[in-house]
Symmetry: none
Amino acid sequence: MEADFSNIHIIMVGTTHPGNIGGVARAMKNMGLSRLSLVAPEAPFPHAKARARASGAVNVLENTQIFSTLEEAIADCSLVIGSSARMRTLPWPVVDPRECASRVVNVAQESEVAIVLGRENSGLTNEELELCQLLVTIPTNPDFSSLNIAAAAQVLCYEIRLAAALDITPVDKPDSPLATSAETEGMYQHFEQALTEIEFLKPDNPGQLMRRLRRLFTRTGLERLEVNILRGIMSAAQKVKSRSE
Amino acid sequence: MEADFSNIHIIMVGTTHPGNIGGVARAMKNMGLSRLSLVAPEAPFPHAKARARASGAVNVLENTQIFSTLEEAIADCSLVIGSSARMRTLPWPVVDPRECASRVVNVAQESEVAIVLGRENSGLTNEELELCQLLVTIPTNPDFSSLNIAAAAQVLCYEIRLAAALDITPVDKPDSPLATSAETEGMYQHFEQALTEIEFLKPDNPGQLMRRLRRLFTRTGLERLEVNILRGIMSAAQKVKSRSE
């Protein structure tokens, strides 16, 4: 089931580049969010560049609300988190994106929540930051800390999607059943036999090399089909050998 | 202390928009990465749009290497992870960005590592995917799953930065150095040659079986010594074959 992120608002304050509005809309929709608000945008809106960068997220742009102040935009929200590139002189509680996401998803189950993104060049003013209960800071290279605003939105929304714990899809599902222990043991015996016949293994001391092969194959977890392929290779080598005699 | 990410390469294959190259460079530098490679870019490069989107990450662009094939770009890499939007018909091991980052940071302590980003519209070809040991998929809204390539790079590099901040000690440290991509490719060619000679592979259709062998061995991450053992087995089979003629 797809998560319901309809209580989560992304609010862009004083955005100057129309393309960035589209970039944020796309980042949001990629992660399943849909509610975008603009506060006093400097960029013209709507705009062709916003549509272009939004790619297929045009519905997010079409439903975007516009406010003249941040106070109005967050009026219905129970939790407001401001994005801030660095610590201000005024100490304010700061969380990382993962902690931010956990709180957002938690509160959004019952209430409206907002994440506030500041101006591309100057961020949020102190007055705007004071309207936020928390600040979120994305860890960055201290020598180059300013993310593109759509990239910042991508990271924050990605963590929200993870926090909602939606996408636990089985990783690396085998497409054939895993081999049983008896099957892999049979394979090792076949290897030892065949490799001795083709004179790769010295019959007096097969131990070290067989151990290395075991280590290699046990690390990965063999599927039944793979055991059959590997035994097929050994059988082919044995057949060639018997023809040479 | 700032982490050392100098062993981590981001490789963009067949990129069509010059602005996206700049966007990826910026996303990398924000997270402390610096080594960008382009494989057969369709976009003109260098380009003013790349510089503009790179913002202050111009040094990343200036040091970007250009290759004509992915094989050349990854030749020195011991771990190659391809970015892929969704599961392909042939199952290949898939990790999420967090697991990807953990493996990248771990292997990069001693070896070169690459993350490969495909074309904006069509991703990586099956042939390119087969050069990757792992695929990484960013969890997304299933109805709108295609991230902007710079946004994808931002998420992947962000997780790498987080993973480096954790204290990761290598589990199952290899006792011989990991094989490079060039070494494992040489091994597959040797396999294909030898298995054809001993008539295990039909020369008209080696694809499916070779893919299965690749899948098996890439899942585990081969050490150089293991590549040598496996090639030794193939050489022994070839020798027997030549004696039978």
